[in-house]
Point group: C2
Chain length 204, copies 2
Amino acid sequence: MAKNLAPDSTRRSEKSRRAIYDAALALVGEVGYPKTTIEGIAARAGVGKQTIYRWWSSKAEVLMEAFLDLGEQVNRDVGQEPYVIPDTGDLAADLKAVLRATVDELKDPRFEVPSRALAAEGVVNEQLGRQFVAKLLEPSLQLYVERLRSAQAAGDVRPDVDPRIALELFVSPLAQRWLQYSGPISHEYTDTLVDYALHGIAPR
Amino acid sequence: MAKNLAPDSTRRSEKSRRAIYDAALALVGEVGYPKTTIEGIAARAGVGKQTIYRWWSSKAEVLMEAFLDLGEQVNRDVGQEPYVIPDTGDLAADLKAVLRATVDELKDPRFEVPSRALAAEGVVNEQLGRQFVAKLLEPSLQLYVERLRSAQAAGDVRPDVDPRIALELFVSPLAQRWLQYSGPISHEYTDTLVDYALHGIAPR
């Protein structure tokens, strides 16, 4: 159904859904995951608790979906199609383009504050950590797996390389610098990671 | 001065210091960083608050030193000299040995529970995160920098490679899997990271 033909009830639902996402992300960024409650999200979004429970069964579920939605928005704003890694035939260029967009996203305050709150809780709360990985992190890593498999088919990556491990050579350094404040992040930095990962640090 | 010749007051101090470290690590693992207080550490260690303030000015300082001390203990127990990376002339073997020991350390519950509590707080508390990096993480990363510089001198790493970035190709994937529960960690896994980082994933 085209958006402009949506009945009033659907439009109202969409508006509530967006208000709930915004409230959940703002709240978790301000008070942290443990103190974020369905009641608090409902109050901030100006909806009844029952409206939230009609769609989601826990605060973790609301937050995961709010993040998926935010990721789509932020990606679009930085000029990247969400959930796609380009395949131009130039592996290095494609990986560098996606990682540059990720750097921009990680520096976007809309994304940074709530993401840190959720990531921090995931470090000490194994159940939430694994949910976060299954719903948010792993699906985005699988895009790299697919791109690396296509590169293997094209002869640009060795056939004996495990793509799920290989992607970590450029994704994890960026993640660690961001998560732990262990170093500055920039386009130049992620370009370097891609070059080292593809060609190795030993002489050829 | 040999330990068995230490005067009573020094022995008492050493005992208090160890009790304070143990209490700080246990407490932060149980209640998290924000709820850990100097008062709580003192009570659990069975010492007066003033004893702690005589040696340290904040709970962050007590915890950092407790971790340094724990790292030394755990490293010794897994058979590794703390704060040293071997230089046998075989770069791959040396890196693999250190990373295997790190895997064992990360899986040690004495280390895991308090480390997660401190790391989680560092994700949302930039000041603590940067202190954690400066006092605990960066000094251990600098050991890899030195080993890679020595490998450059031996012709085993390309001269144009930045060692501070290169080390992240094998250190950060392990860190991310551990921090975020994004994958299993094992000796085989870290061996693979070293091989990929040295030789690259593109065909030679």
